[in-house]
Amino acid sequence: MKNKLLFCGLLVLGIVLGWFYLTAGQIDGNILLNVRLPRLLLTLFTGMTLAGVGSVYQMMLNNPLAEPYILGVSSGAALGSVIAGLAGLFILMPVFGFAGALLTMLLVWLLAQKKGQFDKTRLLLSGIIVGMFLSAVISLIMYLFQQDAMLILGTLMGNLGHIFSATEYRFFLILAVVGLLVLVLIHHDSLTLDVMSGGDLYAGSVGIQVHHLRQRLFVLCSLLTGIVVAYAGIIGFVGLIIPHIVRLIVGTSQRKVYPLSLLGGGVFLLGCDFLAMHLTALELPVGVITAFIGCPFFVWLLLRKKA
């Protein structure tokens, strides 16, 4: 009952926010259709994916600190985008970003594999190490190409203001629809994830192929994260806090948490991006807004745990 109420509430909030998002200020049909609507769709898709993947990772890795970026894929995607941007190939930034995500995913996969096992600690450590290494490469690029610091900062702090061309937009829409289907597909594993949170041994004993499931989820989630980072850069905290908020309200069952996280993530990011655009005359990086709201929450979460 509680989660249905929450679902409806979020839906209404999302529609109201979406309306303001599309129509704030003096605009005409051209801007609404060609600038704001693409941005709204990108924002919603990004928020949903980040929060959904975050909730899956937290369960799968059995770690409350897990988030979509923890397994290094985002750094690979960011590096790919930045390289394309520096070469002046702005339209190819998402493609390069996605390629970077794929390569990183393969690398982490290989590192995490050991004698056919796909251990969660190993996966976590491999992801973090690869991610750190790639971040260092980005820092180096930032130092060497100071004149392009804005591009790199935009990628590292999140930039939902991607300017689409008509063809590119069509391509994005297809990707987004596929992405949504994958998100639905992942929901089928929610029950299994609930069981798996009891430990690999227990899950194995009731017939779940733990390593296989972990591999599948890792690949699907990495692909989704890759798409999102390729278009919007790295937007922190959405994937971390939204699943936690949802769990605080409806409990830990992944079957309830996952769909609510999707919706909550979309609405939260929409709100944050709205603030980023309209809070000051200068558009703020959306990653800063999510962090401003996310950090205090996180501290509160930690304090609560201690008590």
Partner: protein, 293 residues
């Protein structure tokens, strides 16, 4: 025996000829080198604007080191490089034993103050408007002992700019959007140096006020402002600008009034140096095309 002494003599002779030749060459080249720093003046220039100002004051031959960005005049290419604009190698500067180091901007001021501690004479010129640039010419002129030349240069530049501005006053003024960065979009405000040049040239920069001189902007604001002219310094291409969603209604896009680095040299506009006069002239030419249409 005789043969040997003959060979010796020939050897000796050819050695003597060689020696004379080499001495001659040495003298010749040392005469050529007279261009090198006179009066013990050795300048290290960290910013391209100041290098251009020094060139106008005909002090280029005294420059011994520059940063990689200093690319005008051509002769600077042969000078020693002391790093990049924002990442200067202090040891290289000190090794060049400069009599004056010319620095600009915030990031260079820290280096400037460190060099001052070592007893090196640092002159900072950081012009952000046309007036400050003209003032900068006087400051540099003072520092390198070319006061009269500097006053003359600044005065003639001022009157040249005034003349250009007076002689071209289109009505209505063409609206200009200058894109300096693509991802994210960035443009300039009227308060920036280049914004001032656009207004001076008779154009109307579409961003009257921004939070900063060079600032991030929104795609929809460009669409709303409907510029007549786009100057694109963001490495993007004509076809891609035309395909940006929602930009098809912009007059500049409809009339193909999009200009790039090859149409108007960015250094003439973005660099607060003496070549801005050329920038204003070129801007007016571009605007005339669009006014004529």
């Amino acid at each position: 025996m005789k043969e040997k002494s003959k060979v010796k003599r020939t050897l000796f002779k050819s050695c003597a000829v060689l020696l004379v030749l080499m001495t001659g060459l040495c003298i010749f080249f040392s005469c050529q080198k007279k261009e090198s720093p006179a009066k013990g003046q050795r300048y290290v220039v960290l910013s391209p604007e100041i290098a251009e100002i020094i060139a106008v004051l005909e002090g280029t031959q005294n420059i011994v080191g520059v940063t990689a960005e200093c690319n005008w005049p051509e002769s600077l290419k042969a000078k020693a490089k002391v790093g990049q604009f924002g990442a200067v190698n202090k040891e290289k500067i000190i090794a060049l034993k400069p009599s004056i180091v010319f620095a600009s901007s915030l990031e260079q001021q820290a280096i400037g103050s460190e060099l001052s501690k070592l007893g090196i004479n640092v002159v900072t010129v950081y012009p952000k408007s046309v007036e400050e640039m003209l003032q900068g010419i006087l400051t540099v002129g003072d520092a390198i002992g070319e006061k009269n030349r500097a006053t003359f240069a600044a005065d003639s530049m001022r009157s040249e700019l005034q003349k250009l501005s007076r002689n071209f006053q289109p009505n209505p003024r063409p609206k200009i959007y200058l894109e300096i960065y693509r991802e994210p979009l960035m443009s300039v405000s009227d308060k920036s140096f280049v914004g001032e040049l656009i207004e001076l040239a008779g154009g109307d920069n579409i961003f009257l006020e921004l939070e900063r001189d060079y600032c991030r902007i929104k795609s929809e604001d460009v669409i709303k402002a409907a510029p007549d002219l786009i100057i694109c310094y963001s490495k993007d291409t004509r076809a891609k600008i035309k395909s940006r969603m929602g930009w098809q209604n912009i007059p500049a896009v409809q009339n193909d009034r999009i200009y790039f680095e090859e149409d108007i040299n960015p250094d003439w506009l973005l660099r607060a140096g003496p070549r801005c006069v050329l920038g204003v002239q070129r801007l007016q030419e571009l605007m005339q095309y669009s006014v004529g249409k």
